[in-house]
Each structure stands twice: as C-alpha cells, then as structure tokens.
C-alpha cells in the first residue's frame, strides 16, 4: 500500500499544532474581550424608557436638584426612582394633555408603578451604598457622568471592580467638598491631591488598607 500523504504533510501537521494553539488562545482572548466590551456591558447605550423623560430638560434647563426626585440618596443605600406622585407634583398642572405623559397619569390613577427600565445593574454580591458616598464628598457625576446632559440616560462607566478600586485606593484624587456633590459641572481643581487629602482627613474617610478590604463591598 502506497503512502496516502506526501512527505511534506508532516510540516502541515506541525504547523497545525501551533495554529490550533493560537486559535484556542485567540478564542479565549476574544471571549474575554467581548465580556469586557462596552457592547456587552451596555456602556454608552441609551436605554429607552416607557416615558421619554429628559434629565437634560429637568436637571439642566429647569435646574431641578437631583435630590428632588432621588430623595433617598442621602439616607439610603439605594437612590430611589421617584414615585409617580413626584412626577404628578408638577405634571398634574403642567403638560396635562401630553401623550408622552399618559403612562404617568395611568400609573397615578391606578396605583401601579411606571415600569422604568433599569440602567445601572450591579451583581448581587456587590453592596454599593449611595449615602456613604454622597455624604463623604463623592459627586454624582464621578460615576454617572453628566446626567444633566443626557436626554435619555445611559451608563457612563462599565463598573468593573478596577473602577471602584481606583478610587478606594486613592480617594484623595476624587473627593470633592460635600457642597459640590450635586454640582454636575464640578471640575476638580489643579491642587486636587492637596485638597483631596485635606478633605479625606476632614470627612474621616477610612485609611486605604480598610477601604480596599474585601468586606467593604462584598458581604
């Protein structure tokens, strides 16, 4: 019986071993890149809501404070989505015939909540507390970006653990005076590190070895 494969097929076999290894590595990398991509994480993807509520109009043009609607942000771990009553405080008198506000009026009449789409999700093993952050000088825009410039809200950060740790390792780079927490236009001054170190001491922010402890976020 003659040989089926020519002699140079040996080279093909050798190359294909390396090619196979390369392919496997590339696949693993591609999967890794995909799960870290903005597409998978829904970063910078505007989420359509049942009511076309514009933060740009309400927060920027009208100048309504964040806390007018997100009441519980200073006291609670969770920054609440406003109750329908909050919308109706104004919209029982303003734009009462607007079609776009029909779901709000229906909700107010029936008592069923408006089904807002969630924009920011955290895994259940991460415990983020809004109140401690806003009360110790971490501004809204630090994580959420310029929400006052968003006609439709999107997620500004991918919220990788590295994003959280960056600040927990160097809080002095991000802390601002508490009066400026809800100022969306705040820009860190040139002497941020000095000012930050001063504020970290003043607000009694934990030392970095405690801030980076696992139990700070994972419980």
């Amino acid at each position: 019986m003659g040989q089926i494969f020519p002699r140079n097929a040996n080279l093909f076999v050798r190359v294909s071993i390396f090619a196979g290894l390369l392919l496997a590595t590339t696949l693993v990398l591609l999967i890794g890149v995909y799960f870290r991509s903005n597409t998978y994480r829904q970063v910078n993807v505007a989420i359509e809501q049942p009511v076309p509520y514009s933060h740009q109009l309400h927060a920027d043009t009208l100048g309504i404070d964040c806390r007018y609607c997100h009441v519980s942000v200073e006291q609670s771990a969770f920054a609440n989505i406003p109750a329908t009553e909050t919308c109706m405080t104004c919209h029982s008198q303003i734009k009462t015939n607007s079609d776009q506000l029909a779901p709000v009026r229906a909700s107010y009449a029936s008592g069923d909540p408006v089904l807002w789409e969630r924009v920011h999700r955290l895994p259940d093993f991460v415990f983020f507390n809004h109140s401690i952050h806003v009360n110790k000088g971490i501004g809204c825009s630090e994580c959420h970006g310029r929400v006052d410039q968003m006609p439709v809200v999107w997620q500004e950060q991918a919220f990788f653990m590295g994003f959280c740790l960056d600040c927990h390792r160097n809080p002095e780079n991000y802390v601002r005076p508490v009066e400026e927490v809800y100022n969306m236009e705040y820009i860190h001054p040139a002497n941020q590190r000095e000012l930050g170190a001063q504020l970290v001491a003043e607000y009694g922010i934990m030392p970095v070895d405690q801030l980076t402890n696992c139990w700070i976020c994972h419980r």
Binding site: T61, L62, G63, I64, D65, R67, Y68, V71, F78, N80, I81, A83, E85, T86, M88, T89, C90, S92, Q93, I94, K95, D112, P113, R118, P123, D124, F125
Partner: protein, 203 residues
Amino acid sequence: MMQTQSQNVFRRVLRHSWIALFALLLSGCHFDMYNQPRLDTYEPSSFFADGRASRPNVEGALAMNAVYYDEYFRTGLVDGVPGDELPVELTRELLERGQAQFNIWCAVCHGEAGFGQSVIAQRGGIVPANFHQQRLRDASLGHFFNIMTVGVYRGDPAQGGYQSMFSYATRISVEDRWAIAAYIRALQLSQNPTIDDVPSAER
C-alpha cells in the same frame, strides 16, 4: 493478553478524560452568586399579586427612627389652627439645613429668594405663592409647616378644584420641614429689615 486489553481500555478512558475535565470547567459557570435568591429594591416578584417585591406602606406608618414629640410637631396645628412656635431649637445649623432643603424642594417653583419667580413658573402653568406678600408675612410658622405637610388645594376637589401644591410629607422629613419653615421666616425678614435689625456697632 487479558491484561493488555484492560490496559487499552484504561488508556482510551484516559485519552478522553479531557471531556470530563472540560465539562467540570463549564459547570463552574453559574449565575447564582450574581443573581442571589433574594429580592432587591424594585425587583419584581411573582409572590404577590401585584408583581412587586416591596409592599406599600400601611396607612399611618412611621419610618424607623422617626421622631415623634407631639401632634403639633407632626402637623403644625394647635386645635386645627396653625401655631407660631418652632418646636425645635433655633440654631445657625437649623437655618443652614433649612436653606439647603429649601433650595432643593421649594426654590424650583418659589425661587431661591421666595418671590414666586423661577424658571418653572416663568414657563407658565403654575403660579407659585410669593412669600413676601403681606398675607404670608403675617402667617404663623405652623402655616408653612402645615402647607408642606398637606399641600394646597385650589377650590373643592369634588367640584373641579385641584391640588396646586402636593404634599411633601413623604419626601421631606418632619425635622427638615420645620427647618424650611424657619428659613422661610428668615427669608421674609431678610427682605423687610429695619435699621433696628442692624447691630448698633455696624450702623
């Protein structure tokens, strides 16, 4: 001969053991830590008929740690009439707290100076009260607290009347409502000072 055969089988099993290893690896991918069997804020649930995990408040429920001194502290009314007393101590901190809260809740319509002029009022649709009119300068402190607590009705709701200002009782804590009432009084005084209000050393 028998021995080699069993050795062959052993080798064959060994050769395919990577499948088992791979399966073991895949079984490590699960989401039960990511999505734990508990209900978070606003998470839907099929347990209750309305599909909500959180329950609405029972009528008259007080928040944990809510301060309850007496009826006047919570309503601003003495026998149904607004009282003029501040049930908490008047301090600089109280007025500053009142200012901060006023600027969140009240200034959007009434304006930061309390003249009833604001971006929202300018765009039409609502006519917020001017705190510097004589009627409100004469009003007692409890009046402002009570308005924040129950809201304002224009006309009888049964006959086409409507609520021109909603109650803020669910949004502003009792202490903060008193702080805002005190700050409104301070705003009123700021707009109508006399020379007697200036310390003699500053005149």
